[in-house]
């Protein structure tokens, strides 16, 4: 019974915790600009994250090591600094976007400008990472995040899409001069979904929850069912934007606009549901990013770490959390719109994916860590292909977006 409960909780929290500022921003903008023409990218990203989450859970359950531990051990400390540097750059941008997402959500509920609420969001995250246990951080916002399933209700209430919109599934409406923007969104969708912080968070969480070889079933079911169903929120948001915002000539340039797509089928309740969904998913993601990067640094430098220990026992781990949060606050205070920041952060993550995840592939094929549970050819091929796609579209689209002022 305890095992069934653990699996159910794992699935539910994976579904509720799937979205974040990046996935909300990319899904909303993708639907509004290109109809159903980027659904393929969401599906591709979902397959990739299912594979990666299953792998990192399997790795930790079998080896009893975290991902950061393994990189340092196998490749040495100097090499470890490369993926660490890419993580610090990309995730500090992402954390600023997540804090902005929390602030925008509170703003949509209260009417107060998000600029004033940004520090409130940062303080809320600081209080939670300082005082809450791992279970609360992992499960609390994710359970609240189940409200994202209301996006699916919205899609059902809107009824079937028009044939012309359906055709965008295989023939994306890319106007002349928009191809770079289309690629930029592909990169952002892949980067938003395949955030490497999830691997550090998931593997450290598996240690915090004392996973063992017996946890492999829980790991596999959580990865496949939880992440698979979690992507429903992302797909539903894309479909809502395509059906509601696109015909109104909107491009989902701000997070609040995306919520208007929920207001059409559900009225005033739809707006509130969107704001609550944005709040819970961005808060959950902000907490996970802070923890994941702090875990990574603490494990890499050999410090004491653990969310279930008191700050006095793991002083450097908690001190780093504060510094990292401060960096994100400084980025956020530059006043960049959270949606634009989320898109940029997601594309930067896509650009860094090969640096972040290549060591993981080597580790996943090392029997010294995984015994007879190493990767098969399908896992390896799928991961390499999707990483290359993400890197290629990011490396092409980022300079072009910056040159034209779109990024």
């Amino acid at each position: 019974m305890k095992k069934v409960f653990a699996i159910a909780l794992g699935i539910v929290t994976a579904i509720g915790g799937f979205l974040d500022a990046g996935t909300v921003a990319t899904s909303g903008e993708a639907g509004a600009k290109y109809g159903f023409g980027l659904i393929w990218a969401v599906i591709l990203a979902t397959i990739e994250i299912i594979l990666l989450v299953e792998m990192v859970g399997r790795f930790t359950a079998v080896s009893q090591k975290t991902y950061a531990d393994a990189i340092r051990e196998k490749f040495g400390f100097k090499f470890y600094l490369f993926p660490l540097a890419s993580e610090l750059i990309a995730e500090s941008l992402l954390l600023a976007a997540e804090l902005g997402g929390v602030a925008i959500a509170l703003s949509l509920l209260t009417g107060i400008s998000w600029h004033y609420l940004f520090p409130v969001a940062a303080i809320l995250v600081l209080i939670l990472v300082w005082s809450a246990s791992f279970d609360i951080i992992e499960n609390g916002p994710a359970l609240l995040g189940l409200v994202t399933l209301s996006f699916l209700v919205g899609v059902i209430l809107l009824g079937p899409p028009k044939l012309s919109l359906l055709q965008t599934l295989w023939k994306p409406p890319i106007q002349q001069g928009q191809f770079a923007d289309y690629l930029y969104l592909v990169a952002a969708i892949l980067g938003a979904t395949i955030s490497p912080y999830l691997l550090y968070f998931y593997s450290s969480g598996a240690i915090e929850e004392h996973w063992s070889g017996k946890s492999l079933l829980l790991n596999r079911v959580t990865a496949i069912v939880g992440m698979g169903f979690g992507s429903i929120g992302s797909l539903a948001l894309l479909i809502l934007s395509a059906i509601v915002l696109r015909p109104l000539n909107m491009q989902a340039g701000t997070l609040g606009e995306i919520g208007l797509a929920m207001a059409k089928p559900l009225g005033i309740v739809g707006g509130y549901l969107f704001a609550v969904a944005l709040f819970s998913t961005c808060l959950g993601a902000a907490l996970e990013v802070v923890l994941a990067v702090s875990y990574n640094v603490a494990q890499g430098f050999g410090w004491e770490w653990g969310q279930n220990q008191k700050p006095v026992q793991t002083a450097r781990y908690y001190a780093f959390m504060i510094v990292f949060l401060l960096v994100a606050v400084i980025i956020g205070l530059l006043g960049i719109d959270p949606l634009q920041l989320a898109l940029f952060a997601s594309t930067v993550i896509a650009l860094f994916l090969p640096v972040s995840l290549s060591p993981f592939l080597f580790i996943m094929n090392d029997p010294a860590y995984l015994k007879d549970k190493t990767n098969g050819w399908f896992d390896n091929t799928a991961i390499i292909l999707i990483l290359l796609i993400a890197f290629a579209v990011a490396v092409v689209s980022i300079p072009l977006e910056i040159i034209t002022g779109g990024g």
Partner: protein, 137 residues
């Protein structure tokens, strides 16, 4: 060094330069991009105003949204004339005329029933259409 005398980094840089130049063909000009984004923001503002008066969103939601629309449109009137790809003074002046009327609605959106919100929606929609048309031309 290879037979042509170019080192690998130089070749990579040349390839990147050619790629960037070729990229001009599948990117919009900064002017078209700015105008298109502004048109979409005006459309969003018009929809927000219509939705709040038909009870589909709360006043708080609308107020928060307008703060964001203002940020997105901030400084556009100064940027447009100097943007690369701007299609002549007359065209920019035409757009700025729409901008001036619509931005007043964005600055002071009529969120209560006591003022003429329909006129603001009409101004925002007109500006949206003008900007989107300019982006496509």
């Amino acid at each position: 060094m290879n037979k042509t005398g170019f080192s690998l980094p130089v070749l990579v840089l040349l390839a990147l330069l050619m790629w960037t130049l070729a990229g001009c063909q599948f990117t919009q000009s900064p002017f078209a991009l700015a105008v298109s984004s502004a048109g979409a923001e005006f459309a969003a503002a018009a929809t927000t105003l219509s939705y709040v008066h038909s009870g589909k969103i709360s006043t708080q939601y609308a107020r928060a949204s307008f703060v964001n629309y203002r940020s997105q449109l901030d400084g556009l009137d100064q940027q447009l004339p100097s943007q690369q790809g701007a299609s002549g003074g007359a065209s920019v002046a035409h757009l700025l005329a729409f901008y001036k009327v619509a931005i007043r609605a964005v600055d002071n959106p009529c969120l209560e029933a006591s003022c003429n919100w329909q006129a603001q929606v009409a101004a925002l929609n007109s500006a949206s259409q003008a900007f989107l048309k300019a982006a496509g031309s």
